[in-house]
């Protein structure tokens, strides 16, 4: 039976079936993205931290906008070509549309990759306002030389034993596994892989359950051993639970039946009669319990240095003597020096300033006393001998960069003052530097200050000569296409002691609600682009047969696919200015 109205419209509504369907679907999509945009709006309005304004590189977003607009034009041209029965033209326009989709996703991938490799660290200080200075950049790569970290050039980052310089180095002497948490495989693999040859990790004492030997003292750690121990523990726990339940059920039957107590249970359990009965139960069933130990301990001999990802051991669960991993495994030993070593491409004191204002402290005074500006940086080591790298005095570059920024800010303030005077502005209407201007040093500014050899006076004069626009990245500067380019430029580096690290993350949803909502919205939008491209691709590669049998039907389907594609473009038309320009 032929389904009616797939090609020709219904007379009452004037619509064919799929058009009704796609518009209903688009209504649901409007709701979906509307909700997400609302989420962005309220997260931004009520954020308790400085919202990252203009944090994204504009050029990739701009190219993506042009690409999607172009693809919207070509998809409607493809539909027009089908209506005019020009198959070849349809193929060309549809292919261009799909190519645009591919370009969009590639650029999105480049942007995402840049964020996943970009690190941010919030510094933890002594006073409340010191807690919020932020350094952004790329972590170095290091390897262990005994108990010390040795810098490694970034081109060798995939060599064996090399890891990012944000790891925790822990000399492990004992391991304790919690058998209640059976997901140990990943961590056991990691530990066994890192243990040097000749290291023995052995069971400290026999594991016996109900008189049955499950594993003997001295058994070597393996995933199979842990599985056997977990199975024995869980079986014992189940056995014990059944016995306790049997006794408790019997006690309830006794107190309600034999004793005839009919009160509410919450009252009964408070009575002396019940408590006495339960004490007898415990005496009776205790000998029947298997009581398998919930933890097993292993000895590490000789102790070795374990390299741990900070994500594997939350800050609240680590100390100098032990760390607890996410599966409740406890590693005992000694925390070695585990600084974060990174090349800094941005310094951000906006949150420090916000906290200082809340405490009624002058933000600039609070910033001057922050660890970022007062720490005595170590002399530059020979570790990373990268080509063209100047081995001059690199100490305290962050302080020098900040002083240069203050010189630039001085000029910028004067410039805006003059501009306000020219426009006759008074009071609050006067132009003043933004919080970004005052408290944040971007990567292009870091490079510019370094190029002027951190001479504050030279920075002031250069700013004056260029009318204050010297240090802003030009829109079409490809060297910073997806942000700071660490392979092309050398940024000042810093060694942040572990106790100074308040919070660290790459630029992923973990870092802030801004990145959480950014990845949610753009990720979902990207999935829509892929879905739309798949549908349009199906029409391009498999539509010939339908074109020959019923071209109008294919034209209708392409129109529907095009409607979805235009919606995807619509969402991006709003996303681009909101995320990239505001």
């Amino acid at each position: 039976m032929e389904i009616p109205f797939v090609v020709n419209a219904r007379k009452d509504t004037g619509l064919f079936n799929s058009k009704v369907g796609i518009w209903l679907f688009l209504a649901s999509e409007v709701t979906l993205f509307g909700g997400l945009f609302s989420g962005y709006l309220f997260l931004r309005l009520y954020a308790d931290y400085p919202w990252p304004e203009r944090a994204l590189p504009v050029l990739p977003g701009l190219i993506n906008t042009f690409v999607l607009i172009g693809s919207s034009v070509t998809v409607v041209f493809a539909w027009a070509a089908l209506k005019m029965r020009e198959w070849r033209k349809f193929q060309v326009y549809m292919a261009i549309t799909l190519l645009c989709a591919l370009i969009f996703m590639v650029l999105k991938g480049i942007e995402y990759n840049a964020k996943f490799s970009h690190q941010a660290v919030r510094i933890s200080g002594g006073s409340p306002v010191e807690d919020y200075g932020i350094l952004e950049g790329h972590v170095h790569y290091v390897k262990l030389d005994g108990d010390k970290l040795q810098d490694v050039p970034s081109e060798n980052k995939k060599d064996e034993g090399v890891f990012p310089a944000n790891r925790l180095i822990f000399k492990a002497t004992d391991l304790t596994f919690a058998l209640k948490r059976p997901a140990h495989e990943a961590y056991v693999d990691m530990i066994l892989e890192q243990a040097p040859k000749g290291t023995s990790i052995i069971l400290v004492e026999d594991y016996v359950v109900g008189g049955k030997m499950i594993a003997t003292e001295g058994t070597v750690l393996s995933i199979d051993l842990l599985s056997d121990l977990e199975e024995a523990f869980l079986d014992a726990r189940s056995h014990d639970s059944k016995i306790r339940t049997q006794f408790e059920k019997a006690s309830w039957a006794w107190i309600r039946g034999e004793q005839g107590v009919t009160d509410q249970a919450t009252y009964i359990v408070e009575t002396d009669l019940w408590k006495a009965r339960r004490a007898e139960d415990v005496k009776a069933f205790s000998p029947l319990m298997l009581s398998a130990p919930a933890e097993v301990a292993f000895k590490v001999d000789p102790p070795f240095n374990l390299v741990l990802d900070p994500d594997d051991t939350p800050p609240g669960l680590r100390s100098n003597a032990q760390v607890r991993l996410r599966d409740d495994t406890v590693v005992k030993g000694t925390m070695l020096d585990s600084p974060i070593i990174m090349a800094v491409d941005a310094i951000d004191f906006r949150h420090t300033a916000q906290r200082a204002e809340k405490e009624e402290i002058d933000p600039m005074e609070a910033i001057k006393t922050s660890w970022i500006l007062t720490h005595e940086a170590a002399p530059h080591g020979d570790g990373h001998a990268e080509e063209g790298h100047d081995k001059g005095d690199h100490r305290n570059e962050l302080k020098k960069a900040w002083d240069c920024h203050m010189a630039w800010l001085k000029y910028e303030t004067e410039r805006l003052d003059k501009k306000s005077d020219r426009k006759g502005l008074v009071g609050d209407a006067r132009f003043v530097p933004t919080t970004n201007d005052k408290y944040r040093v971007n990567w292009d500014q870091m490079l510019a200050y370094k190029a002027l050899k951190y001479d504050a006076e030279a920075v002031y004069n250069a700013a004056k000569a260029d009318d204050g626009s010297l240090y802003r990245t030009h829109l079409f500067d490809l060297s910073g296409f997806a942000g700071a380019n660490h392979s092309k430029h050398h940024f000042p580096h810093v060694e942040i002691p572990r106790d100074k690290v308040g919070f660290e993350s790459t630029f992923t949803p973990k870092w802030s609600t801004y990145y959480a909502i950014y990845f949610t919205i753009t990720g979902l939008h990207g999935l829509h682009v892929i879905g739309g491209a798949l549908v349009l691709g199906y029409y391009l590669f498999f539509g010939r047969k339908m074109y020959e049998s019923n071209p109008e039907w294919l034209a209708n389907r392409v129109e529907i696919g095009g409607l979805f594609w235009h919606f995807v473009d619509l969402v991006w038309i709003f996303l681009f200015p909101i995320l990239y320009l505001m």
Partner: protein, 127 residues
Amino acid sequence: MADSIEEIKKKKKLYMFIGSLLFIFTGITVAVASVEWLDFGKHGFDKADAIIGLSIAAFKASLVMLIFMHLNHEKGLIYFFYGLGLVMAFFCMFLIGWTKSDPIRYGNWEHADGFYNPEKPATKPEH
């Protein structure tokens, strides 16, 4: 909806024109955000920039909807579906914004404590 071949040929010219307009207005959006003498409000990002940016985006979106998505000559039922989506989106926004009236998280601490325990003096929780 344009059905005849002559109408479609005319529409193609319109699509090209609208596409060019979209390109131009995208450039205008970036210029307004980047070029200082086009910054109509205070220095930096402020309400004026948000209004201008979103207005340009809304204008571009209207062009896409009316011309590319054929809403300028669609049937009434489609306008209903589209309106339905908008109403639901605004309702989502209202629901999220309504959480701002939560006295415990955002608002009047005295009121919040009084609601749960009139005897207890109001205390502001630590953030």
